[in-house]
């Protein structure tokens, strides 16, 4: 059978980078073809080319036997190609109907929107593919899982039969992901063909018919789930053998280092997002906070680290110091470290050199400052030391942090935070968007700290990360901690259910 889609020799250069290097790819009707690769491997560039957002420098795209010249997404949509982006392309203040019809509006005379007709069509699609959604709801009111359904309906509304899904499960609980895979089955049964982009090996093995791995802009191998396993895929993706299991010694928990009692925090819109959270974190243990993004983890971390004043409750350190409304500087000076969720926004000053970023929270102390004068020599001396110690790949200490790769940016933060003596580390999404090598490194560093007797609070929406690193796991759902479980005696299914707020089934 002829493939519905064929990419031949796609090449795309960005200034200084060869993002795609003669990539060939075929997609057959009714199959799920997984595209596997690390962040920055060139998957997204390739898909943006296929969707008409970028123009390739070389190569051709053949859809159903016809060569396609694409100028814009309009051409891709017309050829039956649809894409769900990693960051949803939905407008929060619009209704589901408005979001779905945008760009392909049903109108009455004179361009007047016919919302009723569009809503009717959405209901039909939603019934046909079991994608339950209320056409009149505002997108901002919908949970992420439902927003994803809206994205898929958007494609079906345009009669797309080639669906590109970019990291679709990143924002879902394991159970939601299972639901989502069922949807994919329904779609392929009805003749839709799917390109599934992911770096999660387990998922790829579960859902794909074929797997193609991309590294540094090149296709490095193709396989099928039958012939592959997780270790094989990982080394294919990274280009060297990877040890997926961490070497983790048993924990030796000590006294309580961080005590959170009945904490209530509101977000910027004044909605309560942390609703009576209590837990103890001991020295020498990793407490993992699991949960789907947006269940209050961000505000919880901001409250602990002093970035956001809580409405109620108490936060105390091991020696009884109340830090409930402490300033971030007090938090730092009390020997606590913070690896923030958004490294570029909260962790670094991108236009500053590496050296300055390494002293962002200690610059006013000796030896980095004397009086009001910064001591450049001391700052650069320390920078050179940390660059060597933490293996930060940078031309030199004067390079601006913004020009480093994501992994190295994160290493700058880790170096700054973990090189200081301390007794508490709050790490929020410490490996988000990083390559396997950097992930290994950062995980190692966090466990090293734990073994030194430091208390580590790890917040992550990557369940694998939580399971690997934590000694105990607290699961957050809708602002509350549903349960705290021992990492040794639990498994992914149980934690997954807790992440969806189901407590009793998880217990039994």
């Amino acid at each position: 059978m002829a493939p519905v889609l064929e990419l031949r020799g796609i090449t795309k250069r960005f200034p200084g980078v060869l993002a795609n290097d003669r990539i060939d790819l075929t997609l057959n009707a009714g199959e799920v073809h997984a595209l596997l690769g690390e962040n920055g491997a060139g998957k997204s560039t390739l898909m943006n080319i296929l969707y008409g957002l970028y123009k390739p420098d070389e190569g051709e795209i053949i859809v159903k036997g016809q060569k396609l010249e694409m100028q814009s997404p309009t051409d891709a949509i017309r050829a039956g190609i649809g894409m769900v982006h990693q960051h949803f392309m939905l407008i929060p203040v619009f209704t589901v109907t408005e979001n779905v019809m945008l760009g392909d509006e049903t109108t009455k005379l004179g361009g007047v929107l016919d919302r009723a007709a569009a809503a009717k069509r959405i209901r039909e699609i939603s019934e046909a593919y079991q994608l339950a959604v209320d056409p009149d709801a505002y997108v901002s009111d919908l949970p992420v899982g439902v927003q994803q359904r809206v994205e898929i309906i958007k494609l079906l509304y345009r009669n797309a039969d080639i669906l590109i899904l970019d990291e679709p499960t990143a924002v879902l609980t394991p159970q939601e992901a299972d639901e989502f895979f069922k949807i994919l089955k329904t779609l392929t049964e009805r003749g839709k063909s799917i390109i599934f982009i992911s770096h999660k090996l387990r998922e790829v093995l579960e859902i794909a018919n074929r797997i193609t791995a991309i590294r540094l802009g090149k296709v490095v191998g193709s396989t099928t789930p039958k012939q592959a396993n997780e270790t094989k895929l990982a080394s294919m993706m990274v280009g060297r053998p990877v040890d997926l299991k961490l070497d983790k010694k048993p924990a030796k928990p000590g006294a309580v280092q961080l005590k959170v009692e009945d904490l209530v925090v509101a977000d910027d819109r004044n909605h309560v997002t942390v609703d009576g959270v209590s837990f103890d974190l001991h020295k020498g243990e990793v407490l993992g906070i699991a949960g789907v993004q947006g269940n209050g983890q961000t505000e919880l971390v901001e409250a602990i680290t002093g970035l956001r004043d809580p409405i109620g409750g108490r936060i105390t350190l091991g020696d009884g110091v109340d830090i409930t409304r402490a300033h971030p500087r007090e938090f730092t000076e009390l020997g606590s470290a913070h690896i923030p969720e958004d490294r570029q926004l909260d962790g670094l000053v991108l236009s500053f050199p590496v050296a300055d970023n390494l002293v962002l929270n200690t610059y006013y102390n000796r030896p980095f400052a004397k009086g009001i004068m910064l001591q450049e020599d001391a700052i650069y001396e320390q920078a050179d030391r940390l660059i060597a110690e933490f293996d930060i790949r940078t031309p030199n200490a004067e390079t601006s942090v913004g020009s480093l790769s994501g992994g190295n940016q994160q290493k700058v933060i880790v170096a700054r935070e973990l090189s200081r003596p301390g007794s508490l580390v709050v790490a929020s999404q410490p490996t988000r968007g990083l390559d396997v090598g950097s992930i290994e490194y950062i995980h190692g560093k966090l466990l090293e700290k734990r073994d030194e007797g430091v208390a580590v609070l790890l917040v992550s929406s990557e369940l694998d990360e939580i399971m690997q690193l934590s000694d105990r796991i607290a699961v957050m759902y809708r602002g509350k901690i549903v349960d705290i479980v021992d990492a040794k005696t639990t498994d992914k299914t149980k934690v997954g259910l807790l992440m969806a707020g189901v407590r009793d089934k998880a217990r039994s």
């Binding site: 909605h271 609703d275 509350k480």
Partner: protein, 422 residues
């Protein structure tokens, strides 16, 4: 799961109760001002006389005469009752409506107090309010067009000024219609410059807008001083004649207030309704708003973000040019240096006050127009409040709105952010 939703919902209400209480306190405060400041020491014998006939009334209505103190007490009582109910229970979704009502009571009480023992032409006041609201509302509509597509335009003032000057000059040379078109045209040209700077070259939109304002002030003042004052025949346009709408203008009280104006007033109303409808009920509006909210999403659906923004900014400039022409061709009949006197900026304030909605902006425009009118009228009545203070009042209200007391005003999410494809 149900229990979680319930607790969250409950705490949500607790948080928003702050707003409920603040509102209640505002209502009570306004009631207190009516009661104590206006009512105390008022001679109970005094009556207020409101004239109900304005220029052009064909059916003369008798004056409206009532006892001032009783009216003040009644208004204070009702406002206080509303405030008490707001504090105890809250009006929920209709809170803003009640706020509008209480503010209206307050303004009426203020006028009654100001005209105690004297006579005030209510119809005339309303008619002037409406006229003062025209350039402000048009300026706000200009802002809405630009910002709903994601481009901040603080150059409305400059565009208005240029529109005023050019339309006066061209109208003096040719006729009013050509002058009006020229005024709209110069607005479009300046908007295109703003567009190229802020959309194509991604310059800071505030800087770009400021530059246009400064350029416009300088250029019009220069031309005015150099040519218009020397050759008076270049600055002598006719004013568009008022058009009395048949039948409608004969309605007692309302007719003369609403239906005896020139083309700018009717133009404003038409543009107001057209824009409100177009923004929220047409494909054009949906696409434009999507570009202002989430340009990347619009782009992935095949909407041309850049073109949409150029279109919106140019239309906004034309609207500002039209607003500028009002000053010379609709009101004064002559160009004076810096004659727009900040109306463009006030228009922006009205846009924010009206939450980027045309109807809301018109409401705010009326409020600002009312204050503008009062400042000039009350001096004549000999009221003790300085007119400058009255002029300040609407901006204090704007600041309160910006602080989020009267429900948060919500700017388009991508407002002021240049669109980068990468």
């Amino acid at each position: 799961m149900a229990t979680h939703t319930a607790t969250l919902a409950k705490t949500g209400v607790q948080i928003s109760s702050t707003r409920r209480i603040v509102m209640g306190v505002i209502f009570l405060a306004l009631a207190a001002v009516i009661w104590f400041y206006f009512g105390q020491g008022m001679n109970p014998e005094l009556v207020t006389t409101f004239g109900l006939n304005s220029a052009g009334s064909s059916i003369m209505l008798p004056d409206w005469v009532f006892n001032t103190l009783n009216t003040l007490n009644l208004l204070a009582g009702v406002s206080a009752a509303l405030g008490a109910f707001q504090l105890a229970r809250g009006f929920g979704k209709s809170t803003n409506l009640v706020l509008g009502l209480v503010v209206a009571f307050f303004l009426f009480a203020f006028l009654s107090w100001a005209a105690a023992g004297a006579s005030l032409n209510l119809a005339g006041l309303l008619r002037t309010t409406l006229q003062r609201a025209v350039p402000i509302t048009l300026g706000a509509l200009s802002g809405i067009l630009c910002e709903r597509a994601g481009v901040v335009n603080i150059a409305i003032e400059g565009m208005m000024l240029a529109g005023a000057m050019v339309s006066a000059l061209v109208a003096s040379l040719f006729n009013n219609w050509v002058g009006l078109l020229a005024g709209i045209g110069i607005g479009a040209v300046l908007a295109l410059i703003h567009g190229v700077l802020s959309i194509k070259y991604k310059a800071d939109q505030i800087v770009s807008g400021t530059v246009i304002n400064i350029f416009s002030t300088g250029m019009t003042s220069f031309i005015s001083a150099k040519f218009l004052q020397k050759y008076q025949e270049l600055n002598n346009p006719a004013i568009f004649a008022p058009i009395e709408i048949p039948l409608l203008s004969k309605i007692p009280f309302i007719g003369p207030i609403l239906f005896t104006h020139n083309l700018f007033m009717y133009g404003m109303f038409i543009l107001l309704f057209v824009l409100q409808f177009a923004l929220f009920y047409t494909r054009w509006g949906l696409r434009m708003r999507s570009v202002g909210e989430h340009p990347k999403a619009a782009d992935t659906l095949g909407i041309n973000v850049i073109r949409t923004r150029y279109m919106a900014v140019t239309l906004g400039g034309m609207m500002a040019g039209f607003a500028g022409a009002y000053f010379t061709l609709g009101s004064v009949g002559r160009f004076d240096e810096v004659m727009t006197a900040g109306r463009g900026f006030i228009g922006l304030a009205a846009m924010i006050f009206g939450n980027w909605n045309p109807f809301g902006a018109f409401g705010a425009g009326l409020l600002f127009g009312f204050a503008d009118m009062l400042a000039s009228r009350l001096a004549i009545l000999g009221v003790r409040i300085p007119s400058e203070f009255l002029l300040m009042a609407p901006y204090i209200a704007t600041m309160i709105v910006l602080a989020g007391v009267v429900g948060r005003s919500q700017a388009p999410a991508a407002d002021g952010k240049p669109y980068d494809k990468e």
